[in-house]
Amino acid sequence: MKKKCLPGTTPGSLSIPIFSVLAAMALFACPGGGGRSASKRESTVQPHHEKGLAFTVPAVEKELEKKIARLRDEGTEPLPLLGIMEKELRRTHEKLRDPKGQPPYYVAYTVDETNNIFLRATHGSLDGDSENRSRMLTVDMRVGSRKFDNTRYLERNWGAHGGALPLEDDEAAIRTGLWLASDRIYRQAIQEFDRVKSKYKTTSKEEDDSDDFSEPVKTVYFEEPIKLELDKEKWREHLRIASAVFNEDPEITTSWVSLQAASNTRYFVSSEGSRIQIPAIRYQLTVFATTDTEDGMNFNRHEAVYAGKEDDLPGIKELKAMAEKVRDDLRDLRNAPTAEPYEGPAIFHGKAAAVFFHEVFGHRMEGHRQKLRRFDGTFTKRIGERVMPSFLSIYDDPQMTEINGKFLNGHYLVDDEAVRAERVDLVKNGVLKDFLMSRIPIKGRPQSNGHGRRSPGMMAVARQGNLVVDSDRVVDYEDLRKLLLAEVERQNKPYGLLFREVSGGLTFIQRQMPQSFMIHPVMVYKVYPDGRPDELVRGVDLVGTPLLALTQIVAAANDFEVFNGICGAESGWVPVSATAPSLLLQQIETQRKPVPGKKLPILPPPEPTGETTKTVQRGK
């Protein structure tokens, strides 16, 4: 299985992915709680042995508890939909019985009610303007027992898709949708249960024979839905202005600037007594453009900003600057020389380092991957062992909404299996401590730590939320460059590499594939020891293997950056973030990117005229 992560919506597509968006509540990370201003550090080529930035969130638990208590005290009632779901759930759980099969021992319904607004502009005019509402049902149905059930080999990820439900709270209509989906999914579950039983009997035992489902969880949490509001007229105009920036470069082949605003209210009821009504809202502003080169390469650049409030989105000046940066980067890339495959020292600048950790390390920390022999199991038996330099610590904390004022896309309070999200310390001072857990137990870890996540319709598995790489030995960024050059000289290389922007990456986690990863850098620079300016190069991907790559990290800077994106894996697409400092690696390897080989257009592009971007006067 290959997992691929993208830092935004699918480029070039008007379609809007379905997000399992959770609310950005007013619960802020506390950068003062042990962290300190990076800018005050002294410049030195010697690594500091002191704490970098520690991100703690002392207020979150209290805030959440307070909120639940208040809602209960005031007798706040959930919306009617939750009551309708409960009625049908009770009937399904108590009465759905196949005379020849087992009854379901666990049933849960999730309804994702989503309102999406999408605006997009290109060349100064709108080409996308839509609003859609939907209610999607997910039905979790387990047959057998917690010890052994129909999900044993995690082979049917789409089994929970329950289809669309009415947008109005009409009991008969909604219960009809729930009834039909439950019957269909139950039928699949009993068939699946027979299949896994026979597979269990006829194949050798997995090394980890843990239960299939953790002990019951009961979470009750209600919060009023959030109304999606957007000043559409203002944003239409902003998108027009920003997208017109690309008119100045005729060599740009595709370009657009888009805004997606999505509100989601998740309604969840389970046969274990959980009842949840939790809203979320999220805004995503994206600038995207592509260009082709004379030698047949194709490059795309995008900049995306995520926010929990409309007011936190960039203003027109910043948005225009984002578009100009994308345009200028593509112009520079077209003129840049191609890079040759390289092995040697390199710096991963903040965002590139964050993606590196998300792909190389984060996915291998997902609990269910430690259980089955088809997964690589690289770190399964290494708890308590040193897996990376001792100055690095890594944790994942979905409760955090921000780091140093930067929005974190992987925030949620309750996961998709009704488990309260917890901070998980994965690595402490280079030593592996824990895994991210859903409700699929593994040897020594019978309980979830609130990382069971999925897209609607999929079966939840452990996924990352907000991954944070912390270093207690940091240097100023300029000193990290000096360390790079020292390493270049020590290894007798003509230059080192600097990876500044990446478009995403992928990693293989099944044993039948090589245990490797690939990061797709866009802005790669040669850094010369003789004082020449950095030279932008193009056409390489970063490749490697996880165990070796992590041991190559020799220093970290104090310039933490956040990479927000949407991550795709077997349980669908989920919003995530990764935060990391710039890192120096002693050895990395690059390979040539595939070249589509498209020839540049035969004719020169059309020239703008004086009336080029006139936009018609809008009517009523």
Binding site: D98, T122, H123, G124, R133, P166, L167, K599, P601, G619
Partner: protein, 556 residues
């Protein structure tokens, strides 16, 4: 009450429309630049370039059990460009695919001269590169597989420019919402019907077409579709789905609320009858009547595509159904078929296939296709075949005006033998007795190709749509609804042995999209021998729990 408002569009969902000439001007500038300069050294040049800009504005809603399930809208402006390299005699088309190789691009729906010209520029560039590759592959193939007397690839004509400003669908979704909710609520009383929906969609389209042959056409039109769909499971677990569809242009009379509600009730009755009907339990070979809508589906599956000249690409081995058969008998001597795009209505019903000039700019006239059972000619586009060397104005754009195929307009089948339905049934029973059978069958509704016209029937055996509502008729004329039947394909020669036609005629409009309408007029058709067998389906058990709709008000 819902009323239609019809008017030429000036406003498109809140945005004032740009004057037509501005769009044509942007298109022309880039078309001319490409016509004059798009050429790779030592490569073949384009001899024909065409570009179409289409504005689409649509909305749709679905209701189920009295509640709204989905509501959405879509608006976009797109560009399609295609070109031909080489010459009219031999070009890049018709090699692997019957469709032209168009390239498309999305452009802003707000007027933007630069974006339109850039869209056309990229589309032509890609189209040209693809065309020269295809041209050279086709030439290489023909060197190894030489053809004699190959017709040219594209007919020379002086295309006509047309401006057809049709009305647009100006219905408000808000007005229709209560109607579709009310119609969908009809199903609440029937728990045996497991799922049901009533949906409505309206789509308005404006298309600007410009070609290097100086064709400059503008068309605007709209289409309103209403679909009522329902499904359930018979006692043995077989799933049964039926629907009721209505496709209307802005000039059609829109249905009153009562008609939609009535259609929902009829859908309930039809499905309920099918759920209770016995399953066909035999293999049958004998006479069958295709009646009403089923006769239309029979024609759509057999004669309509067979009489359209759409020569297969050079790499295909198939031949046209009636290739080289002009002047020969293909139907009984009392059958005539004409295709008449000039007819606006027939038996009081507006015809969807009415037009003056086709999408390739060729004027369309009335055409006799079959006279007294003898094949007289084919429906032809500008893509010639040995049987139809010139266009007779049947080049219809099926996915926009640039993707044309030969297709019917108003396709009218008549019988000189006039029989009414009773006489048709008697004819059926005569044949049943003659063959020593216990009963015959009448098909009244089929799983039609829906709104899609099957244009590419090129086999010697013609595939027939499976029946949905089929009646077993015993020797005393008593009818029993049966379900779960499928029909075997029939040999082309069987058409000549059609025993009788009569009843009706049924006048049916088929609309695949705004701008493409076909009408079929046909009487009922009695075929001497059709093979019927049980549909291979895997029944699923019925839901274990009762429907939440089962309550005091429920019926059945």
């Amino acid at each position: 009450m819902v009323h239609a408002r019809r008017a030429e569009r000036k406003i498109l969902r809140g945005h004032t429309l740009e004057p037509r000439e501005n769009l044509f001007s942007s298109m022309k500038t880039e078309l001319e630049r490409n016509r004059k300069k798009l050429h790779l050294e030592e490569e073949v040049k384009p001899y024909y370039l065409a570009v179409a800009l289409t504005d689409t504005d649509s909305w749709h809603m679905t209701a189920s059990l009295g509640t709204l399930m989905h509501r959405g809208d879509l608006r976009f402006r797109s560009i399609q460009a295609n070109l031909r390299v080489g010459s009219y005699e031999l070009d890049n088309t018709g090699f692997h695919s019957i469709y032209p190789q168009s390239q498309s691009a999305s452009v802003p729906f707000e007027y933007n001269d630069l974006a339109i010209r850039r869209g056309i520029f990229f589309a032509f560039d890609q189209a040209y590169k693809a065309a020269i590759q295809m041209y050279s592959q086709k030439n290489a193939y023909l060197r190894n597989h030489p053809r004699e007397n190959m017709p040219p690839d594209w007919t020379r004509v002086t295309p006509l420019s047309v401006t057809q400003v049709g009305h647009s669908i100006e219905l408000s979704a808000d007005e229709w919402l209560p109607v579709i909710k009310e119609a969908s609520a009809v199903f609440r009383k029937y728990p045996a019907i497991q799922s049901s929906s009533v949906s409505i969609s309206a789509s308005n389209r404006m298309e600007y077409l410009l070609t290097s042959e100086k064709q400059k056409s503008f068309t605007s039109d709209g289409l309103l579709s209403i679909i009522i769909a329902a499904s359930g499971q018979a006692e043995d677990g077989t799933a049964i789905y039926i629907d009721w569809r209505m496709n209307l242009t802005p000039d059609d009379e829109y249905p009153e609320r009562e008609k939609i509600i009535k259609a929902a009730h009829e859908t309930v009755s039809r499905l309920s009858a099918l759920l209770d009907a016995p399953k066909i339990d035999e293999n049958y070979s004998g006479p069958v009547i295709f009646e009403g809508k089923a006769a239309v589906d029979f024609v759509v599956a057999t004669l309509a595509p067979a009489l359209a000249s759409n020569p297969p690409p050079v790499t295909w081995s198939q031949k046209g159904v009636f290739e080289n058969m002009i002047g020969r008998m293909i139907l009984p001597p009392w059958v005539d078929i004409v295709d008449d795009p000039g007819m606006k209505s027939h038996l009081g019903k507006t015809l969807a296939g009415n037009y003056e000039v086709d999408d390739e700019g060729v004027r369309a006239e009335r055409l006799e296709l079959v006279k007294r059972g003898r094949l007289m000619g084919f429906l032809a586009s500008r893509r010639p075949s040995k049987d139809a060397m010139s266009s007779n104005g049947r080049g219809r754009g099926i996915f926009g005006s640039l993707n044309t195929v030969a297709a019917p307009s108003n396709f009218i089948l008549t019988s000189r033998k006039k029989l009414n339905r009773k006489a048709m049934k008697n004819e059926l029973l005569k044949l049943v007795r003659k063959r020593g059978l216990k009963y015959g069958y009448i098909v009244r509704r089929s799983q039609s190709f829906g709104s899609f016209l099957n244009l590419f029937s090129d086999a010697r055996n013609l595939r027939l749509p499976n029946p949905i509502e089929m009646y077993r008729v015993d020797l005393k004329g008593r009818e029993t609804l049966v379900r779960g039947a499928q029909l075997a394909p029939i040999p082309v020669s069987e058409l000549e042995r059609i025993v009788a036609m009569g009843g009706g005629p049924e006048v049916a409009n088929i609309r695949m999209q705004p701008g493409f309408g076909v009408s079929i007029v046909t009487p009922d058709i009695l075929v001497e021998r059709i093979e019927i067998s049980e549909t291979p389906m895997q029944p699923q058990r019925k839901p274990l729990l009762s429907s939440p709709l089962a309550g005091v008000d429920s019926k059945r």
